[in-house]
């Protein structure tokens, strides 16, 4: 009983110290994604905090797919996907990490060069994970990997508004195996070059 009265204030001080030091660590910068897609239904802003359309469960009609989306000029629509062009430059990541390895800088430079040499091209970065993580955690981690690649390309001089990201979490493994060789292939960011459709 006596000792617990000492432990509580000491624990409080320790907790405050840990909380303070926990806030100091600040990993690298993040760049905002292109705000070209409409954010919320009926609200063209895609950003900030102004109120959107009021909720009417009978409004809106059926969901439109692909190029049928109205009111948002989707910069990335009407483009063809070329997976082969940059397939050799897929980035791979350590387990549970979105840090780009220094050994992969050459791949990033090749991707940057491809975008710099063709001003009409855009890029889709697909992030993926191995199966050793829970589903939504992996969906967020895959997105973080794609975003890390995008930031690296932005640092290399590529306009980030030309780059879209999509995470598949662990839904689309490159290798369906259940060993380290397969898992290593699945922890990745793949680059898909996008070209405007001819005649568009």
């Amino acid at each position: 009983m006596k000792t617990t009265k000492w432990i509580f204030p000491l624990a409080l001080m320790l907790a405050l110290t840990l909380a303070a030091t926990g806030c100091k660590h600040k990993p690298g910068p993040v760049t905002k994604l292109p705000g070209t897609r409409s954010g919320m239904m009926g609200d063209g802003s895609g950003e900030g905090t102004k109120p959107g359309a009021s909720f009417d469960p009978n409004a809106g009609g059926p969901v439109q797919t692909g190029g049928g989306q109205t009111a948002n000029a989707e910069d990335f629509e009407n483009m063809t996907m070329d997976r082969a062009a940059l397939a050799a430059h897929t980035l791979h990541f350590a387990f549970d990490s979105a840090a780009i390895k220094s050994s992969e800088m050459a791949s990033l430079e090749a991707v940057a060069a491809a975008l710099k040499s063709d001003s009409s091209a855009k890029l889709l970065i697909e992030g993926g994970c191995d199966e050793r993580g829970t589903e939504e955690y992996n969906r967020s981690l895959g997105e973080r990997r794609a975003l890390a690649a995008r930031e690296a390309l932005a640092k290399d001089g590529v306009d980030p508004s030309r780059i879209r990201t999509i995470s598949y979490g662990k839904d689309k493994p490159a290798d369906p195996g259940h060993d380290e060789a397969a898992w290593a292939k699945n922890r990745r960011a793949e680059f898909v070059l996008l070209h405007p459709k001819a005649g568009v």
């Binding site: 926990g22 600040k26 905002k32 239904m41 900030g48 469960p57 975003l147 999509i166």
Partner: protein, 394 residues
């Protein structure tokens, strides 16, 4: 000088005692929580006997009672004797084996035999435990084929009567219930992961979040007015909150690491989520109106993700990953975690003791229903493929 020294020691002690002053009422609360901690995962099931039931009625009674913390014994070993019949319609009585009192005797008609048996099971649970049964509740989940595409389903909590909600053959994820027969879920059908609202009564649906990048993990506040979600449009997957119609969007976390799986406290004041602090996976919570995030410690287990807050506010269930995946509980304020069973992605039923989760069996995912107090568990039927990400309608 000695007096001054003692004086300062005394002042110091008084200072510490002042900080520790609320000790006694806190100790009282700690005692209450402590007794529940010893019960979760270690409670004895209530032993009952079942006499006279066959076929589907027996099957429903055995399932419902098992996952709400009852076990089945011979009549002379039972605390309650449950007898009756289930051919044609269900009728039954419950007798307290010690006092010999008949607790109730009832017959059920209408609807289906299954529903009658569920209603009888609910009456048994409520009579014996005082808590409402879960026999008529529903779960939503996703069923995924190996290529990644799948559909959202809803089913009875025991896996029966599954119905597909979507028909898109697209990658789907993270179904979440809203009050009033509506679901929110993530679908890649538009070519990007977007969050859909889907009215189950009339089948109408619309996209409520379609920002660039990731839109996923919708969670609806208990009062049905707000949605927490994960968006990456700021440059990193963060927790955001808005009205269920997408209005008044507000960013709640702004970290360069990846947040995931927001869930609401039952009073709507907090949003708990998975994140990283100092390179380690942790659970944290943030005030739903904005403010600083606080870590929720989960001592004894590591790599917590996929939190879900119990409807009574006392517990957070989550997945921990230490080699395999385990369903764990921690008191809502954080503390020592209890490991329950192997599995992932727990979702609480309205009774704050039964959970639905998914578990890997032979490389595939199958849904399981688990009583957190006794650890009694039962797999529920599978649609083809991998069934995961279950959500229990409250």
């Amino acid at each position: 000088m000695k007096n001054t020294f003692l004086f300062s020691i005394n002042i110091g002690l008084l200072g510490l005692l002042a900080i520790a002053a609320p000790e006694s009422s806190r100790a009282q609360n700690e005692i209450n929580i402590q007794s529940e901690i010893t019960v979760m995962g270690r409670a004895k099931p209530v032993p009952v006997s079942l006499e006279g039931f066959t076929g589907e009625a027996a099957e429903v009674l055995r399932f419902d009672l098992w996952v709400q913390g009852f076990s089945f014994v011979a009549p002379d070993a039972a605390q309650y004797r449950i007898s009756g019949s289930g051919s044609g319609s269900v009728q039954g009585r419950v007798i307290d084996a010690i006092s010999k009192q008949t607790k109730f005797s009832r017959s059920y008609t209408g609807a289906t035999l299954r529903k009658q048996a569920h209603a009888f099971a609910d009456d048994i649970v409520e009579t014996i435990t005082g808590k409402k049964g879960i026999g008529q509740t529903k779960v939503a989940f996703k069923a995924q084929s190996p290529g990644g595409a799948g559909e959202i389903y809803i089913a009875d909590f025991d896996g029966h009567n599954p119905q597909a909600v979507t028909r898109d053959n697209a990658i789907v994820a993270a179904p979440a219930w809203a009050p009033g027969r509506a679901l929110f879920y993530t679908s890649y059908e538009p070519g990007n992961p977007d969050i859909f609202y889907h009215n189950l009564s009339n089948g109408e649906r619309r996209i409520v979040a379609k920002f660039s990048g990731l839109n996923t993990s919708a969670a609806i506040s208990p009062d049905g007015t707000r949605m927490a979600l994960i968006l990456s449009k700021s440059g990193s997957p963060d927790v955001w909150v808005c009205g269920v119609d997408g209005s008044h969007l507000k960013q709640l976390t702004a970290t360069p690491v990846d947040e995931s799986s927001p869930c609401w406290s039952p009073d709507g004041q907090w949003i708990c989520f998975a994140t990283k602090m100092g390179e380690r996976r942790v659970l944290a919570k943030v005030p739903a109106g904005g403010g600083a995030a606080q870590r929720i410690p989960t001592s004894g287990v590591s790599n917590p993700t996929e939190p879900d807050w119990s409807p009574d506010g006392k517990w957070i269930a989550f997945t921990s990953q230490m080699g395999g995946f385990d369903i764990c509980l921690v008191p809502a304020a954080g503390g020592a975690a209890t490991v329950l069973v192997a599995g992932e992605d727990p979702s609480w039923s309205p009774n704050s003791r039964t959970l639905v989760c998914t578990r890997r069996a032979g490389g595939r995912y199958t849904l399981s229903v688990l009583d957190a107090m006794t650890k009694q568990v039962k797999d529920i039927g599978r649609i083809s493929g991998n069934d995961s990400q279950p959500a229990w309608a409250k």
